[in-house]
Symmetry: C2
Subunit: 101 residues, 2 copies
């Protein structure tokens, strides 16, 4: 099993993790959690892609030396963790209440 | 000292906190940390205001029942914590390395 497979396996087993979506730097879906439909994955991809662009630009505008590392979007029911590898964006969606438990 | 003053006093004393800015729901600055210039506060206010709108819309579009609670924007050097009271938005800026220490 490749290092990526192992990482994804580990992510899926974390308590509260509902789904993950991995995008390339153009925002196209590379992988999604098997239990997540392509349609829902695309909805998350589109929303997060815009948000990441806006956050990256804001970071650079506030300080050209700085760079966006990750984003946490906490809502009433979920938390979206968005982090960046060199050539991909990893979105992990976890239920928030469980996360707090 | 009012409850708000006490809270702001406590925030300022947290290790790593560099600044805070409090906006009303229109994105206008209500308060800023005394050591932060009005100009820098306005830069943060404008960037965060846009980001919050985008994140709130994304949250609602993904699930109309859901609602944005807070945002964490971590960059190479800082972390911006954006949380929401009924009629205001609180932005806390802290140095990230110290936060991790």
């Amino acid at each position: 099993m490749s290092a990526i497979e192992e990482t994804l396996e580990r992510i899926q087993k974390q308590p509260g993790v509902e789904a993950y979506v991995i995008l390339n730097n153009e925002g196209e879906i590379l992988r999604r959690m098997p239990s997540m439909s392509q349609e829902v994955a695309e909805q998350y991809a589109n929303k997060v892609k815009d948000l990441v662009k806006k956050a990256a630009n804001a970071t650079r505008d506030l300080n050209p030396e700085d760079k966006l590392k990750n984003l946490r979007i906490r809502t009433k029911t979920k938390e979206m963790l968005v982090s960046f590898a060199t050539d991909s964006v990893v979105i992990i969606i976890q239920s928030w209440s469980h996360y707090m438990g």
